[in-house]
Point group: C2
Chain length 460, copies 2
């Protein structure tokens, strides 16, 4: 745990109850009777009440309803029924994921007050596993942005420095977990929307292999690229959460690989290169590898093809979702999101078809590459959290903030590969993330490796 | 067999050896020793030599090579090895399907002399089943046209009246089988390219459920809509051919359904309505049903949605295939094909994505509909064969020839359903086809039904 290192930089806010408490610790406390699920929900409620005005992580909270569920879970436990490791654990759900008992707004004026008829499949699975939903967390409007600072509910703020963005689009989930309002939260990741805010807020963020977790009831950004994922404080918590989300499709964690073959992905052409971030992440990769990490073969040569395919796929699919809204209710969009959507319209059909073909070709190339390495390592994000509303990264060849935030995460969405961001350390007091990427379907191996080998980063 | 009815209208050409001879008859003759595979190939060669100048069905023929294979098949038979019902049977392959030993031109100047490195999967399967490829048949250029009269090798001609088109794009395969040059031929069907020429030339034409037959080595028009299929003289021959093509995926024909629930599809808004054709086909449907055929529920209400989805899918995918060629070698295209390709470019990415979603929705609607009926019946084509190069159909609200030829076949490509055209009779001495459509995956049932219930049409 980050907290374990007493010289770590401190959050800019007074942490909530769950900061530094692992789900296993909470389960042990409930098992011993020193805490109840009701206690946990009250702690979540108190932390949200205190911290949310500073961080704007939650857009809807219902502690009364959560307390009622907590009492049911406590009664079950008293009668000897424990559903599993999430039994009685408070969680937060990104607000582009349907909840039958709470509004689901997508961060958009078009959906203010919208009440879905049923839980999304992944919410239903989490509830069946015993988790207690305390509220919905801010999403970048329609999840179409990695900055987390544009939605009808405003911007989420980074608990490490509240002038900075959390990253997005799972912005509120990152702020909620990093500040200790809840121990763990659901996000969605289309180009990095789980891993980017995890990296910028010092969390573990995991995106599964494409299609392994149901997206039924998740409001789509670009379904070919998108997967539900988890933001957590430690790998073990992410494992527990993914096991519940998989509905049995993802097996329990396997034993770690003894000596994973790791490959370092040199900074690719489309991301700005912050030497301090790269050095910090590379050091984390070497701690993880327990030795040197040689350069991965071939990867950077595919960078442009991956970006090009991603652009066509994401834009065509995103515009399809919103075509009628852009025509009939343009004024309700955040101007930046509207501009992005309008810029997405011109992708041509044949270019989209070509991009899908390219994706298939690139997936085959990477399947071959993953016969030579077990894990690719690279920064999750090439910079630390920019300021809210910042849109340009200074430096040699200045770049857009969006492109820079996503440039190292979105290649793995095109390929549909499982990827995790792990806290790698701090640069100028702000967290940075080490991203590990594995072969399609190697979700359990990647999580098990991370659980067995990741070590808390040394202080800044 | 059509020939069985002595009062049937006659072909405009002197039929080749295979006209009216079923594959089973040919097998019996080979089994009894009265004919050899070598004889059959010689008969094919003689018929091609005599008829091809009139019909332009074949664009490449290699009788010498076919004779060598025939002698191998005869030797096998002499040693007791018979591969199956296609053993020693001469066949023709549409020229957009790869053959390792013959050029494959797609009917296009861009590919004149092109030699693929290997057989298409379906060609390999046919050869493994014992069939002998005698040549390649004319395809409408790049299979992008249902008229069969535009290719670098010119137009195929209809054996029933050589001033008329065969329909396409499997134009040469239809002319070759209808005239008796070969007993059976391979085609491909993206919007009706097997069923349209089968109907216009008085043949049985079958398109399987999408994806059941490999398209590896088939030059693509629009892969989401496209499937290899067969043009034959009778249903039993089509069954034998499809069994070989399926590589074991399609089971041998099952027993016919005793009393199929049939539904008549009233003429849909997008096809011109020729009353004589409709009456002829409806009578054939009633002979097939052995009674009245009630109107099918719901189908016509989906006509517009089906056309719209088909348009976006076909155009985006077709342009993707040819984008670079249209840019760099436009002058090599037939002007009409070039014009169609250029008109295909503007489909937008989001429209393509929407069309795929619509397809999924419509497939679900039709899956429900096929719980109420076993077979939909309608004309394969609403008119008889137009003249070569004719592009407008006269009549109340004149229509384009292409749209009219495809309007009743292409809905089933969008849905990916198995469909067959059966000779229904003649109108003004030209054949018309009864089209039957079944639920996805019901290929064997549809073929078995057709084999057990189809009767030779009465003469004009």
């Amino acid at each position: 745990m980050t907290q374990a290192n007493p010289t770590s930089p401190q959050l800019a806010v007074e942490p909530g109850f769950f900061r530094g408490r692992r789900i296993a610790d909470l389960q042990q406390a409930m098992a011993s009777g020193s805490l109840t699920a009701e206690d946990l929900v009250r702690h979540a409620g108190a932390a949200i009440e205190r911290l949310n005005p500073q961080l704007n992580a939650f857009v809807h909270v219902d502690i009364a309803a959560a307390l009622a569920v907590a009492r049911e879970r406590d009664a079950e436990r008293a009668s000897g029924k424990v559903r599993g490791p999430l039994h009685g654990i408070p969680i937060a759900i990104k607000d582009n994921v349907d909840t039958a008992d709470m509004p689901t707004t997508m961060g958009a004026a078009h959906f203010l007050g919208h009440r879905p008829p049923a839980d999304a499949r992944c919410v239903a699975l989490l509830r069946e596993a015993g988790a207690i939903v305390v509220g919905k967390t801010l999403t970048h409007e329609f999840a179409y942005g990695p900055t987390g600072d544009r939605s009808v509910q405003g911007a989420a703020r980074n608990p490490w420095r509240t002038s900075q963005m959390t990253g997005g689009s799972s912005a509120g989930s990152a702020a909620a977990v990093a500040s200790g309002m809840v121990p763990v939260a659901l996000g969605t990741d289309t180009g990095g929307s789980v891993r980017v805010p995890s990296a910028l807020c010092g969390l573990v963020g995991f995106k599964p292999t494409h299609g392994r977790v149901s997206d039924a009831g998740v409001f789509p950004l670009a379904p070919t690229l998108e997967d539900p994922g988890v933001l957590a404080q430690c790998v073990e918590d992410a494992q527990v959460f993914m096991q519940a989300l998989s509905g049995g499709a993802i097996a329990p964690a396997i034993a770690g690989v003894d000596a994973p073959r790791m490959g370092w992905v040199a900074n690719v052409p489309f991301a700005i290169d912050d030497a301090a971030v790269t050095a910090c992440v590379r050091a984390a990769a070497e701690r993880f590898a327990r030795g040197a990490v040689p350069a991965a073969p071939e990867v950077t040569q595919y960078a442009r093809a991956l970006q090009s395919a991603l652009g066509a796929i994401q834009r065509a699919e995103a515009y399809e979702v919103h075509a009628e809204r852009v025509e009939s209710e343009p004024g309700k969009f955040d101007p930046e999101v509207l501009e992005r959507l309008r810029a997405s319209r011109p992708v041509q059909g044949w270019e989209y078809v070509r991009a899908l073909k390219e994706r298939t070709r690139l997936q085959a190339e990477f399947a071959r590459l993953f016969q030579q390495v077990d894990v690719l390592a690279l920064p999750a994000v090439a910079i630390t959290a920019p300021a809210l509303q910042q849109r340009t990264v200074a430096g040699p060849g200045s770049a857009g903030v969006r492109e820079t935030l996503l440039g190292l995460t979105n290649p793995w969405n095109v390929l549909g590969l499982p990827a995790i961001s792990l806290p790698a350390g701090w640069v100028n007091g702000m967290p940075v993330g080490l991203q590990l990427v594995a072969a399609a379907g190697a979700d359990e191996t990647l999580l098990a490796l991370a659980a067995s080998r990741w070590q808390a980063p040394p202080a800044d």
